[in-house]
Subunit: 396 residues, 2 copies
C-alpha cells in the first residue's frame, strides 16, 4: 500500500542546557566538525583521521593498547563489544551489580552464553577489594565486569586495586567507563584494565553515536584463542581490527561524520589537558553540591564515593519530580535527568559532563531551582544556594 | 603509563564527488540538520522528531508496519537486528548467496545459533522463484534471507514473487534493501516482506550511522513467541520498541544528531517524490551505462537485472585498478569503489545514489575517465562517451 506523503516541516532543534546523564552540551566547533563534508570510509583523508583519533584515544585512556578505537554505536554498543568478544559459551563471568549498568552487563554476558554470577551492593554503594576477592575465590571467573561510574546512582567505584585480584586468579577485567572518561582519572595501563569502554556523549561532549574502547594485549590474546565465533558479527573485533589496523579491510561502513566530531572532541580535551579537565569537573561538582545541599538535597551515593560529573540526589518530599523537571526544561531550557530503575521517581541525576561542567551551568541551574522552589513554597528565600556555590568558585 | 599529548591539527575534510558504493553525496541541508544543537534523548522535541522520522520511513518503505524505526548503527547493524530478532538457536534458516552481503547474512545467522542452509548463484546472477521454491521444500526454513540490491555485484533481485513462496511454507522473509531503498521501488507491504532493513548512506544521501528497519505484524508475533532472549542486548527490538513506541522507556542513548540528519534526508526524498526519485536514478543509470560501454566496460550483472544505483563493471584489461582510482580521487576528486570479495581487482563499483544521481556527476566521471584513458593510451579519442551520455539526457 502506497501512502500519500504529507509535507513534513524541517527540524529546528532548540538550544538546551544539557545537565542530565548525557548527552552533555556540545560545543559549536564539535558540531561544525560533525557537519564537514562526508568522505568515503577508505578515503586516504579518512584513514588519516582514524589514525589521529586512535592516537588521541590512547592518550585519553592512558594506554599503549594497539587495539583502541571507536565502536560504531552508542555506549551500550561499547559494553556489548567488550563482553561478547571475551565471552565464549559456558565461560564463567562475574559481574558486580550496584545499579542499572551492572545489571545490563550481566544481561549482555548471559545472552552471549556466559555462566553469569553476580555480587550485589545496595544502589549507591561500591564494592570493596575484599568483597571482590571473596567472590573471585568462590566463582573462579574468566571475566570480571564492573562499572566505574554507575550513572544510575552517581557512585564512583575505585578501580586501581581490582585488576591484581582478577589477574592473580587468571581472569580478565572489563571496566565500564562510559560516564567517567574525560571527567576523572581513568588509568587503563596503570590500573591493569583489560577492556575499557566509554561513550561520546558524556564527558567528551560529543553527540551520541560512538563508543571508544580499548583492549589490552592479554584481552587480544584471549580473543585470538577463541574456539568459537563471536556471537555478534557487527561487534566482532577480530574483523573490526582489520579495518582500524594496517590492512584497512572493509568490515562495515564507518559513521564518517561522527568520527570527525569525536576527533574534534578529543582534540579539545587534550588541548585543555586531561588533569585540568578533571580539576574543572571536581570544582564544578563541589560548587553544585554545596548549592544542592542548601536546597535540601542529599546524595544517593556514599559521601566518599560520589562521582563529580553525575550527581544523583534524593528528591526532597515536597518536590514533584515530573512537574519540576518539565518546568526546568520549558521555562529555563535546562535538562536534568530523572531516576532510573529502582530510583525512578526518587532521585534526580544532574550531569556536569564535559563542556557542561562550567560555573554558568551550575549557577543557572541553582538559580532556576531556587526560583521554582520559592514559587512552589518549598523554600522561602532565593539566592542562598547560588551564593554558596559562588563562594566555592571564589575560594576553590 | 601517561603519554604526553602532542597537538593534533583540526580536521578539514575535502569535498569529494562520492560515486562509490556509499557513502553518497550529502547535501548541505542534511549536513546542516546534522549539526543542529544536540538535545536529550527524552526531550519532547526529540520524541516528536522520532515520530516524524518513523512516519516518513513508513512512506519510504511503503508499509503500515508499526515497528518501523532506525537502528543505532550502520547498515550491517540493520542486518544483524533483522536476523537476531527472528532467529532462535536451532532454527532453520535459508540464505540466498550470490555476493558478499548474502554471505554476510549467513554468517550473522550462524552466530545467532541458526542451522543455516544456503543456495548459491554465480556472482552477478539472481535467483528464480523456482530455485527458491525448491530450496524451501528441501530445507523447510523458518526464515529466508535474500539481498535485493547486491552491492558487490550490482545485481537486482526481484522480490515481489518471493514472499508467497516463503509464507506458503510457513516462513518469514528478510530482505536486505540497504542499497535499493530510495533509489528504486521497495514495496514492503505489497510484496509481503517480513523484515526489511537499509542504510542511510546510500540512496538516502545521509552520512552513515543509522539503519532504517521495519518488521511486519507476523515478524513481531514471531518475536513475541520467542522462548529465548535475543542474542544481542543492543539490537533486541522488544526493548528498542519500548523507546520508539508510546512507553518511551530508555534503552540506550539514541544517536540524536544522526536522527536529525536522517529526518532531513527523508524529508527531501518525500518532497521530491518517491517515483520521481526512482526515475531520476533510472535516467542517470542509462546515461552512465551508455558512456561506460563506449569506454569498453561491460556490466558484472545480468543485463536484465542491473541495479540503477550501483553499477559494477568489469575492468578492461588495460586499466590499472588502484592507480586509476587514485588518479580519479586525487586529480578529479571523484571516489568510485573497487571490487569486493571474489571481484576484488576485477570490477569497479560506480554508485549514483541519492543526490549523487545527477548529470553533473555522471558527465564529470565520464569526462575524467576519458581524459585518463587517453593519457594512458587506452582509448584515442575523448568526448565520445560524454556525448553519448548527454544524448541520453536529451532524448530520455
Amino acid at each position: 500500500m502506497t501512502k500519500t506523503a504529507t509535507p513534513y516541516p524541517p527540524l529546528h532543534s532548540p538550544r538546551r542546557i544539557l545537565m542530565g546523564p548525557g548527552p552533555s552540551d556540545v560545543p559549536q566547533t564539535i558540531l561544525a566538525a560533525l557537519a564537514q563534508p562526508t568522505v568515503g570510509h577508505l578515503d586516504p583523508f579518512y584513514l588519516q583521521a582514524m589514525d589521529g583519533l586512535q592516537s588521541m584515544l590512547r592518550h585519553v585512556f592512558k594506554t599503549d593498547n594497539e587495539l583502541t578505537f571507536a565502536v560504531s554505536g552508542t555506549g551500550s554498543a561499547g559494553m556489548e563489544t567488550a563482553v561478547v568478544n571475551l565471552v565464549e559459551p559456558g565461560d564463567s563471568v562475574l559481574i558486580c551489580v550496584n545499579g542499572v549498568f551492572g545489571s545490563r552487563m550481566a544481561d549482555v554476558a548471559e545472552r552471549a552464553g556466559a555462566v553469569v554470577n553476580t555480587i550485589t551492593k545496595p544502589w549507591g554503594q561500591i564494592f570493596t577489594t575484599t568483597e571482590l576477592k571473596n567472590a573471585i575465590v568462590k566463582f573462579k571467573p574468566k571475566i570480571v565486569g564492573i562499572v566505574m561510574a554507575e550513572t544510575s546512582t552517581g557512585a564512583s567505584q575505585p578501580i586501581s586495586a581490582i585488576a591484581d585480584v582478577v589477574h592473580n586468579a587468571g581472569g580478565l577485567l572489563i571496566v565500564d567507563a562510559v560516564t567517567s572518561l574525560g571527567g576523572m582519572n581513568v588509568e587503563v595501563d596503570q590500573w591493569g584494565i583489560d577492556v575499557v569502554f566509554s561513550g561520546t556523549q558524556k564527558c567528551l561532549s560529543c553527540p551520541p553515536g560512538l563508543a571508544p574502547i580499548s583492549f589490552s594485549p592479554a584481552a587480544v590474546a584471549s580473543i585470538e584463542r577463541r574456539a568459537t565465533k563471536v556471537s555478534s558479527w557487527y561487534f566482532d573485533v577480530s574483523m573490526i581490527a582489520n579495518y582500524w589496523g594496517e590492512n584497512r579491510a572493509y568490515h562495515h561502513t564507518a559513521p564518517i561524520n561522527m568520527t570527525f566530531a569525536l576527533y574534534e572532541a578529543l582534540r579539545l580535551l587534550l588541548a585543555e589537558g586531561l588533569e585540568a579537565c578533571y580539576a574543572r569537573h571536581a570544582l564544578n561538582h563541589r560548587a553544585l553540591k554545596r548549592g544542592l545541599e542548601i536546597l535540601g538535597f542529599t546524595y544517593a551515593a556514599d559521601p566518599e564515593h560520589q562521582l563529580p560529573m553525575l550527581n544523583a540526589v534524593n528528591l526532597p518530599a515536597a518536590v514533584d519530580d515530573a512537574q519540576m523537571r518539565l518546568a526546568l526544561l520549558e521555562q529555563y531550557k535546562i535538562e536534568i535527568g530523572g531516576g532510573l530503575g529502582e530510583l525512578k521517581g526518587k532521585v534526580w541525576r544532574i550531569g556536569i559532563m564535559g563542556h557542561s561542567a562550567k560555573s554558568e551551568n551550575v549557577l543557572s541551574l541553582l538559580e532556576a531551582l531556587e526560583n521554582l522552589f520559592v514559587e512552589n513554597r518549598i523554600v522561602c528565600e532565593s539566592g542562598v544556594a547560588c551564593r554558596a556555590a559562588n563562594a566555592v568558585y571564589l575560594n576553590g
